[in-house]
Amino acid sequence: MHNAFWIALGLAVGWNSVVSAQQPKEKNYLLTSVTTQYGWSMLNLTDAYLSDLPYSGYGLQFNTTARRFATAKSDRISLRTDINLNAGLASNDPQSATFTYIGGNVGSGVQAHFKPIRNVQVLLGGVWDAEMGVKIYSREVNNAANIDLATNLNLSATLRYDLPLWKNHIRLQADVRSPLLGLMFVPVRGESYSEIYYLRSYENLVHFTSLHNKNGLNIRYLVQIPLKNSILNIGFQTDYLKYAANNMVFRRNIMSMQVGASCDLIQFGGRKNRAPAHFVSSEW
């Protein structure tokens, strides 16, 4: 009886292996890699609508990038989505007034992957983004706040170098973005937002942008250290932006030290990307 049990168990395991081997190859599910960073930043702001003086101070930063390949069949094209949030407080040199700054940027784009040499990847493409921010001026004046609104088509490039170590590797990454074309909202100097609204005075508010009136360079450097279930990221980011309209020049320069993590998510949904049978979710 005891022997019969072991024989039956052996057959069952063996049969199961045969059946599994006869299954068609499992479908590849796309993973979405999410890199989330938290940072402490130094701000430098000039907003000629509010004051000609430059303002500098400190703030906090959050950014997240989600990336996945366009199809499971190729590793040449990836889609990315970026969210950046900044908040900070800056004062002028004589410390006589402050700007409270809150800004955000949401972008989505495509990059092509090239592997020119071993351990190096170059990703090139474009990102379309929408940007919004507000600066609140502490002084008791007629126009005490200004809103930044813009949308840009950016040139986007990412350089990755995988530095081999004993059993693993550390990735060094530089992510560069620069605006090429777009539209931006800049109020006329002296025209308040209530005038724009009540008098429906919409002239000279929306401006076409290109390199002739808007220059920017956003570079994020990351050192990515693999851990057991995720990747630890240590980063440094510089976000430089300068633009001019309505006889005013605006500048924003944010440098931040960041720390964060990357992990992979499985993305599924709809009729095509159904959850795999073995997938367990708290939602579905």
Binding site: A48, D52, V141, N142, V188, G190, E195, K242, Y243
Partner: protein, 339 residues
């Protein structure tokens, strides 16, 4: 392909350097002087209208800069230079002082004595207060009187509704805005709209688009609408003096076009340019007129508005407890009632 790239890269570099850096000045007396002079030169809206030779003013005050010995001296000199603009909306703010030009009312009769208003002959002491308005019935209850001394002291339509309801049995209203130095333009518009029976063109404004003294946008028209919820369709006398300034001046400019309104008193103080500000390298703030406003016939209102009925207060009347301007308004309303 390589040839195209070689052409494209320099072009991109040239384009990328097109955005010029904003002009910055050092935090020295000379640097602050230059920053202040340049702010007014490029952004003050009345240099041409007032025929101010700002270049020659620079020469005059530049020569005095060497005699400055401390910050107070420097502040006074800069304040003196700004006073050449003869504008009540021009101030220099520091941590220790605020420069100002007050000749626009100090050189004229005051034409207002608040103790007369609150005497038993007029409001007395048991008047009502709603929002920033003090009101009651005078002349035996036949005339409503409302004193509004500050357009920064806000009111709601509910406030106004109670005022108008309370005064509804009066034959006319006296709206006293003497010594009202201004405040919110939105309050001026809201109050004026109670006296219009249809949407009426009441003015224009322009904005400076460039650094030239006359680089203005085309005029933007603004209208005074008829208030849907509040309406006073009986005669209204608006009392003014030289201290009716800024938003009050704008209110009077609108009321000039109200169908049943008569402006009584002295010429208003002006202040027809919306003030903006800029900072100097040392952190001082300069406020200046930047957005000129005009009446409906595109005439500047910077120097004030003449009343329909010019009246000055008489010291003899004041001694007997009579406010000459207010008495004249009462008399005009009585005539209106065909007493």
């Amino acid at each position: 392909m390589k040839k195209r790239l070689k052409l494209l890269l320099p072009l991109l570099l040239v384009l990328a350097s097109c955005v010029e850096d904003p002009v910055s000045y050092p935090n020295t007396w000379q640097g602050n002087f230059d920053a202040l002079w340049n702010t007014i030169d490029t952004r003050y809206c009345y240099l041409d209208y007032k025929k101010v030779n700002w270049d020659s003013i620079k020469v005059v005050y530049q020569s005095k800069l060497n005699s400055v010995s401390d910050e107070f001296d420097f502040f006074d000199l800069m304040g003196e230079m700004l006073n050449e603009l003869k504008d009540g909306h021009v101030n220099l703010y520091s941590d220790f002082d605020r420069s100002r030009y007050w000749n626009w009312f100090e050189d004229y009769p005051s034409n207002f004595q608040s103790d007369l208003i609150y005497s038993p002959r007029y409001l007395g002491s048991d008047y009502r207060i709603s929002g920033g308005m003090r009101y009651g019935k005078i002349d035996g209850g036949s005339i409503g009187y409302m004193y509004y001394g500050d357009f920064s002291s806000t009111f709601t339509t509910v406030n106004l509704k109670f005022v108008f309801d309370y005064l509804s049995d009066c034959q006319g209203l006296i709206l006293d805005v003497r010594d009202n130095g201004g405040g919110y333009l939105s309050s001026a518009e809201t109050l004026a709209s109670c006296f219009f029976n249809k949407k009426t063109l009441t003015g224009y404004m322009t904005h400076k688009l460039g650094n030239g003294h006359s680089d203005f946008s085309k005029p933007i028209a603004f209208y005074t609408e008829r208030s849907d919820s509040l309406h006073w369709d009986k005669p209204v006398m608006v009392l003014t003096n030289r201290l009716s300034f800024s938003a009050t001046n704008a209110f009077v400019s609108r009321m000039k076009y109200a169908p049943n309104a008569t402006i009584v008193g002295d010429r208003t103080g002006g202040g027809g340019g919306l003030p903006l500000s800029n900072e100097l390298p040392n952190g001082w703030l300069v406020r200046f007129s930047a957005v000129p406003m005009y009446d409906a016939s595109m005439q500047h209102i910077e120097w004030g508005l003449d009343p329909d009925v010019k009246v000055d207060m008489s010291s003899t009347d004041a001694k007997t407890g009579r406010d000459t301007i207010l008495e004249r308004a009462i008399a005009l309303l009585r005539v209106n009632r065909q007493f």
